[in-house]
Symmetry: C2
């Protein structure tokens, strides 16, 4: 990096990315690699834009970059920084040409990237896991509380001016309590998928008096009894156990869906699963919409198979209209996929995506590389 940096500084001290781009095309070979950035990444950008050892082409508008623009500008690029909306496929690779060696996405998911194709062409792929663990764990707890405490209905009543006229009674607005009490001392939290975010969510729930934790793991993964014993001891739980989907459904008071998307997990939470759940239980999905069958969940809420649901993700998002069965369901609270939407986390994600890009570009270490 540093060797080319001095050279490029002497060629051009302009801060205009576009001008820099022209200059770089005049220079010989690939000394100063070209990168396409599909979106301005806010406060994380200056450190990238000020580099003079790379030729940066930046989508100039504050909206998803146009495909035609991307296909035109990616020609000759050695790296591309994308978001979830930018597909990285055969078409993009053909447009880019043979110099492309790194794709960096500012997201924890990489469904938009054709990984086998990347492997075939020896293109390294960076993503941004880990840094959003805390933010998503936070919103998982928030949605569990909101769904249990009837927050959708309660909030609407205040916003619609109905507070003064609703009839209070000792059990109005009551829902199941997330935290344990002296007279109700047992709580079982379940996780469909038990990775980093699930474990961070569990840690947050311990002082709520959670006593039992059960989870299902990927069929491809082996039970890790050593890890589980350590976690159980750390959190002073009566039970921490990997179980099958049947037990997970039957025993969870609050069930968190925290598993990757894709075919393997498609509709794992369907009508049959929901029918097994406790009547007073709450379902939270903060991972991928495709894991939960929306129609089945709407039926489960309407027919009171379960108490409530809190969703940050929904199948088919963002095309979720007011006619969507879950939007119409009062016992469902939904937010528009904002699990990682905090200033701290998005800044960390942007920084990580830039670091991955730079690492891949110059053959160095990528802080988070897919498959490594």
């Amino acid at each position: 990096m540093s060797s080319s940096s001095g050279l490029m500084a002497s060629l051009s001290s302009s801060s205009s990315a576009r001008l820099t781009s022209i200059v770089s095309h005049l220079s010989a070979g690939d000394v100063r690699p070209k990168v396409v950035i599909c979106r301005h990444l806010g406060p994380a950008m200056p450190s990238l834009l000020e580099r003079n050892d790379i030729d940066i082409v930046l989508w100039p508008e504050d909206r998803t970059c146009e495909r035609a623009w991307l296909l035109e500008n990616v020609k000759g690029a050695a790296g591309v920084l994308v978001l979830l909306g930018d597909r990285v496929n055969e078409e993009l690779l053909e447009a880019a040409g043979p110099k492309l060696r790194v794709v960096s996405t500012m997201s924890v998911g990489y469904e938009h990237i054709d990984l086998p194709l990347m492997a075939k062409h020896n293109i390294r792929v960076g993503y941004t896991p880990d840094v959003l663990t805390e933010a998503v764990a936070d919103i998982s707890v928030m949605l569990a509380l909101m769904a249990g405490r009837n927050d959708g209905v309660a909030y609407s009543i205040v916003k619609n001016g109905g507070w003064s006229s609703f009839a209070w009674s000792p059990f109005t607005f009551c829902g199941p309590q997330l935290s344990a009490t002296a007279s109700s001392p047992t709580r079982t939290v379940g996780f469909l998928g038990f990775g980093r975010i699930a474990q961070a969510t569990l840690a947050r729930l311990v002082p709520f008096g959670i006593t039992h934790c059960i989870y299902t793991g990927s069929p491809n993964s082996r039970p890790d009894t050593t890890r589980d014993a350590a976690l159980q001891a750390k959190h002073n739980l009566k039970v921490l156990e990997r179980v099958d989907a049947d037990r997970l459904a039957r025993e969870s008071d609050v069930l968190f869906v925290l598993t990757p998307g894709g075919q393997e997990t498609y509709h794992l939470v369907d009508a049959a699963f929901l029918k097994k759940m406790k009547k007073m239980s709450v379902l939270v999905n903060t991972s991928r919409g495709s894991v939960v069958d929306s129609d089945a969940l709407a039926t489960a809420l309407r027919e009171k198979w379960i108490w409530g649901a809190g969703l940050d993700v929904v199948e088919g998002e963002p095309a979720i209209s007011t006619d969507h069965p879950l939007v119409k369901e009062p016992q469902c609270v939904m937010v528009p996929h904002i699990g990682s939407a905090t200033f701290q986390t998005r800044l960390d994600m942007a920084t990580r995506a830039i670091d991955n890009l730079i690492g891949g570009l110059f053959g160095g270490e990528m802080p988070a590389e897919v498959g490594k």
Copy 2:
């Protein structure tokens, strides 16, 4: 209790409270004390209604009991079980007459009870603290998360069908993150009032990565440095310190109002206080609306002195219309005083209120007696 129980059983085996009441009036003296219950308390009631050593008069409707009915029926009562809406004052005492010896309220607050008057007449007062600690701590955490994560706006967008059309960008919907992160490792939580609920809320926040806890205590209370040192060690905090209101306002990232109402705490959170707070801070009030100046808070949110607010209580509730400045404020999330509204807690409160009533009625121990 048991001595009169056998006697009364022989006088009447009827389970009708009203018939029992007539029978009791025929019996000599105050052997079988009369109690008035101002509201059916749900699943906690059977154990009370089945007792045949007391003469129970129960308001038969599922709404706040009418004052005229109460004044008429309280005549000759030895005990009365009330809710927040039932004023216990000179008028009620005169209507009851000299036999009244216990007032039990199913609430943690007792603003509706004239305590000096009760003391003057040697009437014991029971209430229901403690049992709602966990439920209110839960909703305090929920509101802190909701206010930080822009939940009011996010939820409304989904409910109004706007998810598909809102323009995503790397910082859309971002708010301050409750939990600490590797790149932002410090979080200060503040408590205006540091009683049971505040301490239960603090415990829940520890795994979110809270590092500093500051609080203000009642001017009448002395600092408890031993307790504080123990809490700091238990939660592994860098700081746990009693501070003045100025520091509380200036240093808190999330500030919880958890102090009793009344004149002493009236508008402690006013414009001057709010102006000192951090621009990215969040205010949560789950205690009494009177502590926070609503107009000042609305201005603070509108003019971005602070980031957001989460309220379970508002001055002047429940008369909160759509014109209320805080209802109109997008960065304010409000729920209609449902802090203790869980099945588990309300059942515990009802049970406690009944136990207090029985204890006071027969001169025994009251599980939670005001001033004891």
